[in-house]
């Protein structure tokens, strides 16, 4: 049996089984979905080879599936992370209701993502795309917050994107006579510029919605924050990457063929959109009170970098984009799992209430710490490698506007330090509060995935080559050759960063410093609570909490106030309201009066009789 089909079918079966298992015993459904995803992952990593391909003839179309280096990268990403998240989800969702519903859609989403990755023709890609959309929608409204208005917003934007893609597919088919992705790549150059622009823009809208590019991002924050964290890890980590997947196909191979590939405008507009997205999203992230929202905005920002990388389109930048995509999947998945653990254990994710969980949830904190370091792009963890390649590719691209792009990206990633610290401080540091004394570490089944992923980040930081290899293969498949080295980063000017001395120096110094501190102080250093601090003579009561956690970055907010004044969201809401009232007015045509309808008929008839000659005499 074809292994691609097998993967899909296993995931589908897992969906159905987990739905049914809920009837027997709720916990079983989680286990079911974990097992199915695990099995699918095993098959994927063991069996699937580039040779596999299949065509399903279906009513005049044939859905072609195949696997290549590029789609393998994303498929590995999807299944690799999903396994951990599914394991985590078992414990996370325990005791919640409608588990069958949740895990059914959970599996279905992952199945759809694998389908998207496998598809080599647009029709099947679109089919799976829509399946992914509605199954994820059903999970978003799972929590039922605000009567699904979040879901509605998500659905509207996804529909815009999906239908844009639909139209692009059909137009390209009518022009090229084929639904194959490969044929679009080969035939794109032959189209007229107008058609190229039409198709390109439509596709960009389609993929831009999922990857939350600037004007189309408004659905993302609430959607990420409101759906269960076990799913948000997938949602932000992987589902958004499907948009990147499509953009990659377009930016790397398709546009390279067409004339709009040569003209810089298209890719530059996209790059700037990505940069602006990342800056604005970062600013929003660091004024959030809720850790979930913070992470949601930060995901949008990170996706901005990836889009910048893809849009610039030099080998290094593409490599950076794909690298960041993978790393972002890992650390953002971990972070959302961390928040989920905190939410489950402490009952809230409000950073103004929480604090000092570090001693109660040390493992979670460790996972969070590593992921955050990777997110901030601080050496030596994986995040740094991607960031470095992105900057270098921009600086060495030799195109004037890109130098300012660097500044935008840099601004956003420097501001990212702020919310990174805010996140760790708000949740894990600061003063203990009595109401959180009961909090315990999350169950092992939740901790293990987080910690493993966090360690994975360390490994990637030490040996980025492990990731470079598949990425380089993927890019080679897309026709972009890039040379890589296991532990040396290098740009086109031949400047290099060697990771081993970095690691040695950091390890050596850290060990020296830590041992030095520990040894001589251990004997007579005692641990005191965070209440016992230097308070200029004041003695705070036990219940008084003096943690500085409200409006943490107020001065910075003041500084960036001009930017924050106008919000895309409000514009959209205004448009929406305007349209709704317009529609409400339009339907007034149907006055309840039967006579009016009769008059419509007569008027219509007489008009037709009058102008009939002209309209029918074609």
């Amino acid at each position: 049996m074809n292994s691609l089909l097998l993967v899909i079918l296993i995931l589908l079966a897992g969906a159905v089984l987990s739905f049914l298992a809920n009837r027997i015993m709720p916990i079983l459904s989680g286990v079911m979905s974990f097992l199915s995803i695990g099995a699918a992952a095993v098959i994927f990593f063991v069996q699937v080879s580039a040779a596999d391909s299949m065509a399903i003839p279906i009513s005049g179309f044939s859905l072609h599936w195949g696997i290549n280096a590029y789609s393998w990268l994303f498929g590995a990403m999807v299944l690799g992370l999903s396994v951990f998240v599914a394991l985590y989800a078992i414990a996370f969702m325990k005791g919640k209701d409608r588990l069958g519903y949740f895990f059914f859609n959970f599996n279905l989403t992952i199945m759809a993502m694998m389908g998207i990755v496998f598809s080599t023709d647009w029709v099947s890609l679109f089919i799976f795309w829509e399946i992914m959309t509605w199954s994820s929608f059903l999970i978003i409204i799972y929590a039922g917050i605000s009567e699904g208005r979040v879901g509605t917003k998500y659905m509207i934007f996804s529909a815009i994107g999906g239908y844009a893609m639909f139209m692009a597919i059909l137009v390209s088919n009518s022009l090229l006579g084929s639904f194959q992705i490969a044929d679009l790549v080969s035939g794109f150059g032959t189209l007229s510029l107008g058609n190229q622009a039409l198709i390109g823009i439509l596709f960009m809208v389609a993929f831009g919605v999922k990857s939350a590019v600037m004007p189309l991002h408004v659905w993302a924050p609430r959607a990420y924050a409101d759906s269960p964290m076990a799913f948000t890890a997938i949602f932000s980590g992987l589902l958004s990457k499907m948009g990147i997947f499509g953009m990659g196909i377009l930016m790397i191979s398709v546009f390279a063929q067409g004339t709009i590939g040569q003209t810089f405008i298209f890719s530059n507009i996209l790059a700037w959109l990505g940069a602006v997205t990342s800056v604005i999203a970062t600013f929003y992230a660091l004024i959030q009170k809720d850790a979930k929202r913070l992470l949601a905005y930060s995901s949008i920002a990170q996706l901005g970098y990836i889009i910048v990388g893809l849009a610039i389109g030099t080998p290094l930048s593409i490599m950076a984009a794909l690298f960041l995509a993978v790393v972002h999947a890992i650390f953002k998945g971990t972070l959302f799992m961390v928040v989920g653990a905190v939410e489950r254990q402490a009952g809230t994710t409000n950073m103004e209430e929480l604090g000092a969980l570090i001693r109660k949830m040390p493992w979670t904190f460790m996972a969070a710490l590593f992921s955050i370091i990777a997110l901030a792009g601080v050496p030596p963890l994986g995040g740094f490698v991607g960031k470095w390649m992105l900057y270098e590719s921009l600086i060495t691209s030799g195109f004037g506007a890109n130098y300012f792009l660097v500044i935008m990206v840099f601004l956003s990633s420097t501001a990212a330090f702020l919310y990174s610290y805010r996140f760790l401080f708000g949740l894990f540091l600061g003063q203990e509060e009595p109401e959180f004394d009961h909090v315990k570490e999350a169950p092992a089944i939740m901790v293990v995935p987080m910690v493993v992923l966090a360690l994975l980040l360390l490994v990637i930081g030490a040996f980025p080559g492990l990731l470079f290899e598949p990425i380089a293969n993927a890019m080679a498949y897309m026709g972009v050759d890039v040379n890589w080295n296991m532990t040396v980063l290098s740009n086109v000017w031949g400047d290099e960063v060697h990771m081993e001395p970095l690691w040695t120096s950091i390890l050596v110094m850290f060990v020296i410093g830590a041992t030095f501190l520990t040894f001589k102080t251990r004997r007579n250093t005692r641990y005191v609570t965070t209440k016992d601090i230097h308070t200029s003579g004041e003695i705070p009561e036990a219940h008084e909490n003096m943690t500085f956690s409200v409006n943490f970055y107020q001065p910075f907010e003041r500084a960036i106030e001009p930017v924050m004044k106008r919000k895309m969201d409000t514009y959209y809401n205004r448009i929406g309201e305007g349209l709704e009232s317009l529609f409400g007015f339009a339907r007034k045509i149907y006055t309840g009066n039967g006579q009016t309808y009769a008059i419509y008929v007569i008027i219509f008839l007489s008009i037709l009789i009058l102008i009939g000659e002209t309209i029918f005499n074609k």
Partner: protein, 127 residues
Amino acid sequence: MDLDYNQIMSIGVYGSAIGLILIGLYAVLIKKHLTKIVIGLSIIDAGIHLLFIAIGYIKGGTAPIFSPAGEKIVANGGVMVDPVPQALVLTAIVIGFAVTAVALSLVIRLYRHHQTARIDQIKSLKW
């Protein structure tokens, strides 16, 4: 211009048919009372029927009945009017009757519920 009898007749017939239709339309579109509207509908029907008959009529033709009398007339080179329209009109009249019956029953129902028969006051279903 001098019109002979037949032309005047035909003009009269067609004219009255059109006139009936217009009267009916007036009743349906302008009058507010449900019953009047229903009456208007049947007037329109009548007009159309008349038109149909008039079209089927052939000058000097006799009734299309295959009786000995009819045979003789035809044998003498006379003509029968076209039978089809008359058959159809009969059907149409029956249908119109049925529709009118339903309509009137609905009017009664409406009057019971709304205590009025003005169509512009019966619009609880709108938009």
